[in-house]
Amino acid sequence: MTGPDRPALLRLRGISLNPPGQSGARTGGRPRRVRHGGPADQAGRTSQAGRTSQAGRAGGRAAGHRRLPPARPAVGPVDLTVGAGELVLVQGPSGAGKTALLHVIALLERPDAGSYLLDDLAVIGLGDRDLAALRARRIGVVPQRPPLLPGRTALDNVMLALLYSGAGVRQRRHRALDALDLVGLADQAAVLAGGLAAGQRRRVAIARALAPAPDLLVCDNPTADLDPALTEQVIGLLAGLHRDGRTVVIATDDQLAAAYATQRLVLGLAGPRWPGAGAGADRTIPLGPPGSLGRSGPGEPP
């Protein structure tokens, strides 16, 4: 909850991410082929005329690859302010742009429009060096299907988050073990990531995101593919982190998480043309103080 006593950590104003083409199809993260130089692509470029942003360049180059990365998820103009210590839920139907918004928040994608202040620092114009520094220290990301290096141990995977911080090996190991302990996996530190169960993989990913002690934890659908027991475990873990004072942004439709949220952002499906979609399609629902719905939320049927 933003307030005078709680300075804003994130300020997003009019953030939007265009789909690569103007086909209007929202691919929601599935791989698809883009005809490089085709009319659709040309249109997309025209709409980004003059932009030399990192994301734009990466997208242009990506079109030259044989197997394309999934088309960039898109999101309409979004305003969002997150205060320190908040737990924010990003909700909406599939394809509404939850993942895209999280990509922008986690500095993984550069938005096509809008402004983004992280601790009063305008991050949109920053270069690779500064973005890498912010990714390494300020923001922890838990992707929807957390990629772990399969041939490495859980500890190695967590230590990876500290590899580029400049810390020594001993310190990295110490902090990684602390993070694993936080998610209750200290005893699994030496297990190869390939041998971990789904819930454990998710927790290792959370530990990895936590290891650098970031200001902000971003979780993309952390309960996907998990059974109810594991879902409760992971949501409980995130809620506990929030209770300990961490700022957490979660994209999830899980009703369980809603009980702990301080703020809920619901993204609506925009019209067929993204650039024309207004901010009215989205609404921000501030909730009460943390845990104010905690008693009734989890038990209620959807």
């Binding site: 993942t99 920053l126 990629p147």
Partner: protein, 419 residues
């Protein structure tokens, strides 16, 4: 350098090396498959070069053994008929003083007065020879007059008896040596104090039987007597009849050409043109040809293998880059800069190249050593070629990995979330 976003992230070389090592250890199958081609080609290359030097050394030593070991000095055919004795008296000493000359000795074929007869028993009244062994065909065994120096230069070995020496020579002793074949045909099998042959009824004691003459094998079919005795019995040599005295010069290996040029001057500084030198056909050119052929053949295969090796290194470099988008994306998502990804990949490729080079070079050396061992040859491998081979492979791999590294460095961090 601190920016509003904080100190830049960094990747220390130690960490990059550790990450590369973890990659190699963590994916043994993939690493083996990727490095196999490179290792094989390295092994092939090292083995080829090692085999070139090993067989090259072998060919060289084989041909060295066949190098001309003697030259022949004869009076020149041009000009007036040479004198009966065309050399200074100390011709042998003069030649021996030449560098590269081991021994030198004069000899000539003795022209027996017709009808020439070499028999084991005295021939009476010009009738047919008689005797238990029967006479050899008249004149069948050429008679050669030689100095003791010639015997040494020709490498004469006796199977029985002894060689004649300076003492026999100085006294013009009527002694002779029989070549093994001549002795057989004359029926001389066992030497005794009374063994003798008759050269046109002139008795000569047989003091030795020649078992071998390395540089003048024709002696095995000859009767050899000291030059002094030959002159005393049959008179001086007759160059007009084609029996001019010649000097056999034994030379050190490889010195034949030089000695051939110098010998006429040594014998007669004033008139070197009076002499001609005959050098047996040297196998040197042939040896060089064979070696050149071998080297060329191996070199072609070597360069071919280098080409294949480059391709395999490129494959190795790309193998470590492709299909790892999510990993590189993840690394970027946790703070790696583009250059860190490139460093990381170069480290991996370099390590892979180093390992493949080490394995390959070791295997190549093993092939050379085993081949040489099987043939009983000494293995010859240039250390300055084998030792840096792994480093060269690593450097090549890193050079080849530059493009894949830049490719990987462009991985957008969002690739981490593709799952």
């Amino acid at each position: 350098m601190t920016t509003p976003a904080g100190a830049p992230t960094r990747l220390r070389w130690r960490d990059a090396a550790a990450e590369a090592a973890a990659f190699v250890v963590g994916r043994p199958l993939r690493v083996t498959l990727a490095g196999l081609g490179t290792a094989l080609v390295t092994a092939w290359f090292v083995a080829i070069l090692g085999l070139i030097s090993t067989t090259g050394g072998q060919v060289a030593s084989a041909f060295t053994a066949r190098l001309a070991s003697h030259v022949l000095l004869v009076p020149a055919r041009t000009g007036p008929v040479p004198a009966a004795w065309p050399y200074p008296p100390d011709v042998e000493q003069r030649l021996r003083s030449l560098h590269g000359v081991r021994q030198a000795g004069v000899f000539w074929p003795v022209d027996l007065p017709r009808p020439a007869q070499v028999t084991r028993l005295p021939v009476s009244g010009g009738g047919p020879a008689a005797g238990p062994a029967g006479p050899a065909a008249p004149g069948a065994d050429p008679v050669i007059a030689a100095t003791p120096g010639f015997l040494a230069a020709a490498g004469v070995m006796v199977s029985q008896g002894r060689l004649f020496d300076d003492w026999d020579q100085s006294r013009a002793a009527r002694v002779c040596l029989l070549g093994a074949a001549a002795a057989r045909s004359l029926g001389v099998t066992v030497l005794g104090p009374r063994s003798a042959v008759y050269l046109n009824s002139v008795r000569c004691s047989v003091i030795g039987i020649i078992g071998g003459a390395a540089r003048w094998p024709a002696l095995l079919r000859s009767v050899v007597l000291p030059t002094s005795a030959a002159i005393a019995i049959f008179g001086p040599p007759e160059p007009a009849a084609g029996a001019a005295p010649a000097v056999l010069i034994q030379v050190r290996a490889g010195a034949a050409a030089v000695v051939a040029r110098q010998a006429p001057f040594a014998v007669s500084p004033q008139r070197p043109g009076r002499y001609a030198v005959r050098v047996p056909a040297s196998p040197r050119r042939l040896a060089a040809g064979v070696e050149g052929l071998l080297t060329g053949l191996f070199r072609v295969t070597g360069w071919t293998s280098l080409g294949i090796g480059l391709a395999s290194v490129l494959a190795l470099a790309w193998t470590s880059a492709v299909g790892r988008g999510p990993e590189f994306g993840l690394r970027r998502a946790v703070g790696a800069r583009r250059r860190h990804i490139a460093m990381h990949l170069l480290g991996e490729v370099g390590l892979l190249g180093l390992l493949a080079g080490l394995v390959g070079a070791s295997a190549g050396v093993a092939v050379v050593v085993l081949t040489a061992w099987a043939r009983g040859w000494p293995p010859v491998i240039a250390a300055q070629l084998v030792l840096p081979a792994p480093l060269a492979v690593a450097a090549t791999a890193m050079a080849a990995g530059l493009v894949p590294a830049l490719y990987a460095a462009r991985t957008p961090p969002a690739r981490a979330l593709d799952g």
